[in-house]
Amino acid sequence: MNFSYSEEQQMLAETVMRWLAAETVVQRGFSPERWGELAELGLLGLNVDEDHGGLGATPVETLIVMQEFGRALFGQPFVSTAVVGAALLGNIGSAAQRDDMLPRIVNGSLRVALATLEPGARFDLADISTTAVRQGQSYVLNGRKAVVLHGDSAHVLIVCARTSGGQRDQDGLTLFLVDATAAGVTVRGSPTLDGQRAAEISLADVQVPLDSVLGEIGSGYVPLEWAVDRGIAALCAEAVGAMEKLMELTAEHLRTRKQFGQPIGRFQALQHRLADMQIAVEQARSMALQAAALIEHPQRNERRKALSAAKAMIGRSGHFVGQQAVQLHGGMGMTAELAVGNYFKRLTCIDMTWGNTDHHVELYGDLL
């Protein structure tokens, strides 16, 4: 095991960093320009194999890129399309699906979004009421999907629907590739707390052809969970980048802000708070690395434990570090003027994406 960047990894990190540093205004919502640049940089192909024009990189490269995204509060639908989407297609897509979609993901002309969670289901991937019923040469989908991240800029929705089994059964779920503009699909976009986008999606008698089934009928849960775990690993790395940046901002504030005639960094109570934050960040970093290391573990339980452990810890440290960064910035930390608040918001949203700390503590407990 080796924790130093290789030369290529160092170059990748620096490329992303330089590119992000050139960005002058934080983008809110989807930006076609940024997306085009992501494609040009080749980053959209990070999780696509070389046969389909991608880089076929390891999870470590995604970790490196996501950390930089976290530091820069980069808010484009990279995880949805280039991590979760690309991995899921690459893993269980048919040859035709892969040949059709993966190159378009790499060149930036196709964006996908994961439409899985449902209203009232909280974070439970198996709590699915949306139905898919076979009718001749097509399936007819009906249901509602909640908080589909970047759902309103996606061309294709990966919809999880029930083809058999009872509500909350893991068996009987099937994944479908659904054109976002198909008849019966209603996408209601909304801004998110952290300046990104999400959508509520309703499916009313949506007809999809048989070849839109992704993977096997009735066996969608296992690959879906695997793909979400990849998304979680990416978010963990992003969170570490965001926390790193918060530490730098906060340390700088403590060095320069004066009160009672001295830099507030001279107050030992604040020094120790900063130390507590640093401890939390370092634990989070260790867990993001562990997530990247075990995301490809052949045993599901080993992977799931590592990923739930990482997400649980990162949720906890994200809240703590975000809260304390605001606190140590005093009133200024409460303003939209400083970046501190934006990092805090992003960390809050990361905790609430694909299961918060409580949720993952519970999942881990089931495997204890």
């Binding site: 969670l117 909280r122 908080v147 801004p191 707390l193 109570a269 918060n356």
Partner: protein, 400 residues
């Protein structure tokens, strides 16, 4: 020591609850309980309803139009109002400049200003904080120079809540540059409509703009608006810091958030059952409810001291710390109730007149913003770090 709740207290509580249930306008109540934005006129309307009933100023003496209630009654009143969904009574007139005028103001000042506080004909705001002087009040730099019969005031105040709605501001200003920093400060009342007063909103984390910067450029303030003696403003500032310290506990907000949390945890589902039945979420509710219980009894103990005419020091700091921590924990739990719906956020939906639809379609939109916004309570009113210094000083002596 007698720990029984007196029958009078129970009657009092019921009387307040009955009044609020009957007279609180439903539209205001809906905004408050839904964590929506409350408008200037909402505050004024409720204040006038209370004032008609004789409850406009819970902490003032009867002869000034107040209730004459003791500290325990005031907490109960606050609690019942808050839990029922009433907006808070703005403290800047009632709990800050009002008591200052009663203690230090001229008869003329009292006659002119106090009645208009009860009716909210004047909306007051507080000009204490300055950029660069957060918890360190004595280092303020806004200066007032005598010119004939007016002070010419120059400087900048910040974190001024509701300055954009206010027509009066009370300010600490420097009237003498020499000597100890505390000694050259005066307490001035400034008409916000005076030329040279400019208000600039500060956009906060939750997209709100309740706080402002206030710029004072060559603002002419009549000598008659000086409260107390020139250069003795520090005394007034200290008086205010030691005044009504139990309100700092925020018990009303704690109780309201707790009630709302339990409602929401009963209505939000998890695996087809109410979230409150999830053992780990229930435990977190239990722990914070226990914290609220302890906080409430700590408040009763401090009120009892205040009632006995004793000053509370470290006790008030503890109330401030616990109150803010509990509010923050509650707001996080409320946000977590929303599950994935904590993520989408339409700031415009915080206005009651918003006609569109939020992502979840019901009241979860405001919860994450509330979580962010309540981070302020451990910062303002003396940061929790400053409060801990005070508690330690009480235990160790000033020079350990």
């Amino acid at each position: 020591m007698d720990l029984r709740e007196s029958p009078e207290t129970q009657t009092f509580r019921a009387e307040v609850a009955g009044f609020v249930a009957a007279r609180l306008p439903p539209d205001i109540r809906a905004k408050v309980l839904g964590f929506l934005r409350i408008e200037r006129q909402d505050y004024v309307r409720w204040q006038r309803i209370l004032n008609e009933r004789g409850w406009g100023a819970p902490s003032w003496p009867r002869e000034q139009g107040g209730t004459g209630w003791n500290a325990r009654q005031r907490s109960l009143f606050e609690e019942e109002c808050f839990v029922a969904g009433a907006p808070r009574q703005m403290p800047f007139g009632l709990s800050m400049v009002g008591p200052v005028l009663q203690a230090f103001g001229s008869e003329h000042q009292q006659k002119r200003f106090l009645p208009r506080i009860l009716t909210m004909e004047d909306w007051w705001c507080q000009g204490y904080s300055e950029p660069g002087a957060g918890s360190d009040l004595a280092s303020l730099t806004t200066r007032a120079e005598r010119q004939d019969d007016v002070y010419i005031v120059n400087g900048q105040k910040t974190w001024t809540s509701f300055a954009h709605w206010a027509n009066w501001i009370f300010c600490l200003v420097r009237t003498r540059a020499s000597g100890k920093p505390q000694e050259g400060i005066s307490f001035l009342l400034i008409d916000m409509t005076s030329p040279g007063v400019r208000v600039k909103p500060i956009r906060t984390l939750d997209e709100g703009a309740d706080v402002n910067e206030v710029f004072l450029d060559d603002v002419a303030v009549p000598m008659a608006n000086l409260v107390g003696e020139e250069n003795r403003g520090w005394t007034i500032a200290k008086f205010l810091l030691g005044h009504e310290r139990t309100t700092i506990a925020g018990i009303g907000t704690c109780k309201r958030l707790l009630v709302r949390l339990k409602e929401l945890a009963r209505s939000e589902p998890k695996r087809g059952r109410p979230l409150i039945e999830d053992p780990r979420f229930r435990d977190r509710i239990v722990k914070v409810e226990i914290d609220v219980r302890a906080h409430e009894w700590s408040l009763m103990r401090a009120s009892s001291l205040e009632q006995a005419g004793k000053s509370i020091g470290a006790e008030a700091s503890i109330l401030k710390i616990r109150g803010s921590e509990i509010q923050q924990e509650l707001s996080q739990l409320l946000m977590e109730c929303a599950g994935p719906y904590a993520i989408p956020h339409l700031p415009e939906a915080l206005n009651a007149e918003f006609a569109g639809e939020t992502a979840d379609g019901h009241g979860l939109n405001a919860l994450a913003a509330q979580y962010l916004d309540l981070r302020k309570v451990s910062i303002y009113g003396g940061t929790n770090e400053v409060q801990k210094n005070l508690i330690a000083r009480a235990l160790l002596g000033s020079q350990p």
